[in-house]
């Protein structure tokens, strides 16, 4: 079943990836990632604060196995162009659990989502969920040798047309 969505709309690039990021709080990590979006003009200056505020009210940490992930994001008002920025963390960072907001969970990979249009890109987001639910793919991502390799892996899984 082919989706009519324009896959080229979402940007996944080595410039939006931080490998082995070394920092201690989710605010720091989100800030580093948001800066990558800002540099390319993908988001408004208000984006970073909006993401952090939302994260504190409605956490996006997910207890996927074997590594916890987080999918921070905010309203499309703050986003010019859809893109996904990724950080694999040197040491896991604490986020709160989306399923149980009072619970802290360790997160190894952060996918910062810049979603420009509400209700667009459902196929890509669904594939992203499949990706981080797959231990095999997460190992490949975390063990990748470069940002380029990570970007290629993600683009192949998320954007390429699936041959059924």
């Amino acid at each position: 079943m082919n989706s009519p969505h324009d896959y080229s709309e979402i940007c996944i690039s080595k410039d939006l990836i931080l490998r082995h990021l070394n920092c201690s709080t989710k605010e720091e990590a989100i800030t580093y990632l948001a800066k990558l979006f800002e540099k390319k003009g993908f988001v408004l200056p208000s984006f970073r604060d909006a993401v952090i505020q939302r994260e504190n009210k409605l956490p996006t940490g997910l207890e996927t196995k074997p590594y916890g992930v987080a999918i921070p994001h905010t309203d499309h008002d703050h986003v010019n162009r859809s893109a996904i920025a990724v950080a694999t963390l040197e040491n896991p960072i604490t986020f709160h659990n989306m399923a149980q907001p009072s619970q802290e969970i360790p997160v190894k990979v952060i996918f910062l989502l810049g979603i420009a249009e509400a209700k667009s890109l459902p196929t890509i987001l669904s594939r992203l969920a499949s990706f981080f639910q797959s231990p095999k793919h997460m190992e490949l991502l975390i063990g990748a040798e470069s940002e380029s390799a990570m970007a290629e892996l993600l683009r192949n899984e998320l954007i390429q047309e699936q041959i059924l």
């Binding site: 409605l58 499309h76 989306m98 399923a99 979603i115 987001l125 639910q133």
Partner: protein, 102 residues
């Protein structure tokens, strides 16, 4: 079973609820559940019509305060769609909630 209206909602109506809705569609098809999904933002719930047959919540933190205008409508937490763990249980809850409305 008549077509049921299912709202899938989170705090921004983007991201989490979209991911969950995409996972939900084929799972419902598998179980023969005929549904129409509408993505909602918790902020816009009050006054939104038509009311759904079921609310699937991707942000359970808000449940405690209740969902504006959704009294009497079953709510199932759907975060399992995103973690991959406990999906069958969630689908059992969804199926029971939808069939309960016959």
């Amino acid at each position: 079973m008549a077509k049921k209206l299912v709202w899938v909602g989170c705090g921004s109506g983007v991201g989490s609820s979209i991911m969950a809705a995409e996972k939900l569609k084929p799972l419902c098809e598998e179980r023969g559940l005929d549904i129409k999904i509408v993505i909602v933002n918790f902020r816009d719930l009050r006054g939104k019509t038509p009311k759904p047959d079921l609310m699937v919540s991707i942000a359970p933190g808000l449940e405690l305060g209740g969902y504006a205008g959704l009294e009497g409508i079953p709510v199932v937490v759907g975060v399992s769609m995103l973690t991959g763990a406990g999906i069958e249980k969630t689908m059992d809850e969804i199926e029971a909630a939808l069939k309960g409305k016959e």
